[in-house]
């Protein structure tokens, strides 16, 4: 049982970590959230379909991150965080690697659930079905929301392109 768990850690820790980092923007908190998620995985391993470990873990990680954000932003700060994050400024003449950094920043600027959608679908390359399961959305909703998220990113990219 412990060996199987170790394998899950090896397979999914990076994805859980990346998602937590995008959502929490704080390394220490992201580590705590990941640990919490894996503790839940350990406790519930007998109840989870082995084929659904990854979406289950991503969903738990995301929910734990959102809980932490709610605690971190108890009142209006949380609402502000939900509505908008600081948007990146124009980067005329930026190099490709700078554009990569810009993209990370832009993803952070998206609101929920767009941010999680982009991270899970475009960064982690999860299937639409898996993303829908993680975010508890229908497949058409996932597609529509992802379209909106990418539209926002495209518009921002059009502004900063050299």
């Amino acid at each position: 049982m412990s060996r199987k768990f170790r394998q899950w850690v090896d397979d999914y820790q990076d994805q859980a970590w990346t998602l937590a980092r995008y959502l929490l923007k704080d390394s220490a908190e992201a580590q705590d959230a990941c640990q919490e998620a894996f503790v839940k995985l350990w406790k519930n391993q007998d109840r989870i379909d082995p084929e659904r470990i990854r979406p289950w873990l991503m969903k738990v990680t995301r929910n734990l991150c959102l809980d932490r954000l709610r605690r971190r932003h108890p009142t209006q700060e949380w609402q502000e965080w939900q509505q908008a994050d600081e948007s990146p400024g124009p980067m005329q003449g930026a190099e490709q690697h700078q554009l990569g950094e810009w993209l990370k920043h832009s993803i952070n600027g998206l609101t929920e659930p767009y941010r999680s959608l982009v991270v899970l679908r475009d960064v982690h390359q999860h299937s639409y079905e898996e993303v829908a399961s993680v975010l508890e959305l229908s497949l058409p909703q996932v597609k529509v929301y992802l379209h909106r998220a990418r539209k926002q990113l495209r518009e921002q990219l059009a502004e900063v392109r050299p």
């Binding site: 990076d14 994805q15 640990q35 503790v39 529509v144 990418r150 392109r161």
Partner: protein, 162 residues
Amino acid sequence: MTHDGRNGRPDEQNGGKPPETQPETLLDRELDALFAQLDIERAPPGLTRRLYRIPQDEQGRQSWWQWLLAPGPGPRWVLVPALAASLLALGVVLMLPRQPSQEEILQARHDLAVAFSYIDKAGILTGQEIQSVLGGELRHTVKDNLSKHIPFTEQSRKEETT
């Protein structure tokens, strides 16, 4: 990877231009290229160590009822009434009136006598102290002239004698 969240025929949406030359499509491709650059971040080694430790940490934290319900050579829950019976027996034994031995009675008497002797000694000393203080004061007030205790008259008496 292309995003497929759009509906309708591309020619109708894009004013008759081929889709691959549309700015939206170009931006989408560029976005895809940027996403391809975004690697999934590797989890820090500290987090990996924490995650590997989860099984042993959690096994150590198993609560007593989990231990009782865990499969073993026999049903562990039968220990509960056995433990309760033992505690009850211990309580009964402790609550029974106990006759002291002769030696204990003698020792208690001796201790009590010593304690009383100390109390007597303290009483005598206190009485002596009170007597000496009060007696002295009373003696002065009876023996001495009253005018001696009044500073003004004492001073005038001295002036008269000089």
